[in-house]
Point group: C2
Chain length 265, copies 2
DNA sequence: CCGATCACTTTACACCATAAGGAGCCAGAC
DNA sequence: GTCTGGCTCCTTATGGTGTAAAGTGATCGG
């Protein structure tokens, strides 16, 4: 019975996430005392992922950081995927959960979105964890509770509120991904992204001399100054992505206001 | 000189993408005639990725599909990362590039967004290709050209137009990711996501009996009917994600209209 | 017809997750 | 106090990955 087995797995993983019975370091039985703990492993794994990214997160690397072998971890965590779930939830505990609603929902929503973006940029690996199971652990519920509370006073009907929340998440995640990958690229290739960008442009005009005819709208936008070069310390692509985030958030929240107005009428 | 080496690599990869000199099957020299081609390899790789996802995309798998070893591919493609870039660009050729603007920019933008969503759902692996380098190949430029042309008539200033485009991409990508991962999860675990959802809910009330007190806003939203159960054939999570996309797109485009109105005044 | 040059193969290496089995420790049973 | 069974942690092994290195054989220019 595959279903029962899967449900059994689901039970254990939920117990791990919510620290239900069977997971903490009770350990009354025989055998050597555990030298590790799920918490320690999750912390170490987050440290590894923060430092070396998702690509550097291997069971060996986590074990090395804790002074044990990779296999020792499997006593505490059933497999790497479960460990990822635990990391995902634990990381979300960093997010603020209280927002001042005195200045209105919009300021709070903007603040929350900005904090979420910052969080994703602080732990970019979070963006690579599957989002299929929307919410699983207690800290993820806290995040959801926080944003729902912010939007609760808008008077939006429940279904619409849920969709607005989903849209906000989609947008922030998308923007964060762009910034995060923008940041990652130069370190990988060893070329600053300004150089990279310039080199690409030069090659483009060489490889596609008919660029202006083939892509008139892009060319028009370009000559209208849409792609102004960097003028400060921040890398070009990152600044672009950040401004897109700020402008996009304004657009999105304007749209939410329209939805609220529609509801009221 | 790392920089020059990297630029050399960049040159070759751009040449591959834009089919510049040096890449096609000219082959005038000695040696056996090439049995494969870059195009054939890219096609095979896309077929593998469509069928088995990014996880199933290995050089060996692509080689098997073409009746050769994995190493044979390295004669045509420098490495897997380049192959991914080529796949990414080639796939984007499927997207429509002409939209009727007679009914206004909004209808066209909604149609384009829907087509982009459908494209991502048809090739979910595209979402896992790094987005750091925003546009590289000719087909990606066609996609950009298409959406810029749609929004060109709105009168938005160039910089704002670029940001709106970025926001649209962020949003559609985020929504597509949710739907795609939602689809993927049940096949992996072997449990339908409705069962899965129900099992989780049951366990939640068991593991967190104080749920209502800890998460009042979520509970209120829930009891207000935000999480209505599935009533048709479509899986619950997927339907939810699709409705979030539709509603979010409306909100977003409402926000764009506000931005246009601000520009006009 | 010969030898340089290419496509392609085999082999090898380092890494990955994790299954399997073994070594040592230690609370409780006697 | 000794035994024992359960526990943690280790070593080893398996089948996967990308790709470097070297070998094989076909093909063309000379």
């Amino acid at each position: 019975m595959v279903v029962f087995a899967a449900q059994g797995d689901a039970r254990r993983s939920m117990a791990l996430l919510w620290r239900g019975p069977g997971s903490p370091g009770a350990h009354t039985g025989p055998g050597p005392k555990p030298a590790l703990s799920v918490d320690a492993i999750v912390d170490a794994a987050i440290a590894v992922a923060d430092a070396d990214g998702m690509a550097g997160l291997s069971m060996r690397a986590v074990g090395d950081r804790l002074g044990c072998t990779a296999m020792a971890l499997y006593t505490y965590v059933p497999n790497k995927s479960e460990l990822l779930d635990l990391m995902y939830d634990r990381a979300h505990a960093e997010l603020p959960s209280a927002y001042e609603l005195g200045s209105g929902w919009r300021a709070a929503a903007a603040g929350w979105s900005g904090d979420l973006l910052a969080f994703y940029l602080c732990h970019p690996w979070v963006l690579q964890v599957s989002q299929a199971r929307p919410v699983l652990g207690p800290n993820e519920y806290v995040v959801l509770e926080t944003v729902v509370r912010i939007l609760h006073g808008t008077g939006l009907p429940a279904v619409m509120l849920r969709r607005v929340v989903g849209t906000l998440f989609s947008f922030v995640r998308g923007a964060a991904q762009t910034v995060a990958e923008t940041r990652q690229a130069p370190t990988v290739t060893g070329v600053s992204d300004e150089e990279w960008w310039l080199a690409r442009s030069a090659m483009l005009t060489e490889l596609a001399p008919d660029f202006t005819e083939r892509f008139p709208a892009i060319s028009a936008m370009e000559s209208a100054g849409a792609f102004a070069p960097a003028d400060d310390a921040m890398p070009y692509l990152e600044r672009e992505a950040r401004e897109t985030f700020a402008a996009g958030l304004t657009v999105l929240l304007d749209g939410v206001e329209v939805a609220i107005a529609k509801t009221a009428s």
